[in-house]
């Protein structure tokens, strides 16, 4: 039976693969067209992927080595910070790209916990605002061209936005189900990217 912990790691790895492929396509598009928007998208997606990978590696290490409780707490805090930092940077890059174009929170030491909540909250607020901008731009593009592929990208970014809003709410109340739901919706968002990539790959 797969535990919730392992489930998070699995979705992180699958998500990272999808993000790496998206980044690869963006880089390929940049090389062919030299349009900077693709370079920003590529860097943004690679950072999101790197964040997911580092998060899953740290969690896998904890899962298999079973270190002392204090070390578990410290590493999960570090993992959260790495993911958060990469996400803020990634969404900033994706937002720049668009503007150029038309863990479960473990109970930790109170001071560390408060600091973590503070940084996490600020980071999540930044992420939400960046994603709001990205969703707005993406929606505008969809309303202009009404293409299915643009809708898929819009749905992907909406899912990421909803996921971050849920994660933000779960930070205050330590609501585990809400946190897991945010993880699930994030994964759904990445699946939308996968659908988009499959459609791109089969383009004739």
């Amino acid at each position: 039976m797969i535990s919730v912990f392992q489930m998070i790691v699995i979705t992180d790895i699958i998500g990272a693969i999808i993000l790496f492929i998206t980044s690869y396509y963006s880089l390929k598009a940049y090389k062919k067209t030299t349009l900077k928007v693709f370079l920003f998208l590529s860097l943004g997606f690679i950072l999101l992927a790197a964040g997911r990978i580092s998060h899953s590696i740290i969690f896998m290490t904890i899962s298999y080595t079973k270190p002392v409780r204090l070390l578990i707490k410290a590493t999960s805090v570090t993992a959260s910070f790495i993911t958060l930092f990469s996400e803020v940077l990634a969404y900033s890059l994706i937002a720049i790209g668009y503007s150029r174009n038309n863990t479960k929170i473990l109970a930790v030491h109170p001071i560390i916990y408060i600091r973590q909540i503070f940084v996490q909250t600020i980071g999540e607020v930044i992420n939400i605002f960046l994603l709001l901008f990205i969703v707005f731009r993406s929606a505008t593009i969809y309303l202009t061209n009404k293409k299915r592929l643009t809708l898929t990208t819009l749905l992907a970014f909406i899912s990421l936005l909803v996921s971050h809003i849920l994660k933000f709410i779960s930070l205050f109340g330590m609501m585990e189900p809400l946190f897991l739901l945010s993880k699930f919706i994030y994964f759904i968002g990445l699946l939308f990217f996968l659908v988009m990539l499959l459609e791109v790959e089969t383009a004739k």
Partner: protein
């Protein structure tokens, strides 16, 4: 207002016409790609130099064909075009 086509788009348009016609003459490409003769000749020379097309001559003049490299380029362009479409980017 109609946007200006990028060079990449023009080259892909030319390759697309040659592909659809399964070998095309200059006049066919001229109509399809909506270019002046001088510009078309310049682009055809570039495509030949990049080995994306080959020229074969008969009694009616020159006919252009896609090379394997040209077909691969066109296929790749279509994918990039689709990817760009997903993010609302016009190539």
């Amino acid at each position: 207002m109609k946007q200006r086509r990028s060079k990449l788009r023009i080259l892909a348009d030319i390759l697309g016409i040659i592909f659809e016609e399964n070998g095309a003459r200059v006049t066919q490409i001229l109509y399809g790609a909506n270019l002046s003769y001088d510009r078309l000749v310049k682009y055809l020379d570039e495509l030949k130099a990049k080995e994306l097309i080959t020229e074969k001559r008969d009694d009616q003049g020159a006919r252009y064909y896609l090379t394997k490299k040209g077909k691969d380029f066109l296929k790749e362009f279509k994918k990039i075009e689709k990817f760009a479409e997903a993010f609302g980017v016009q190539i």
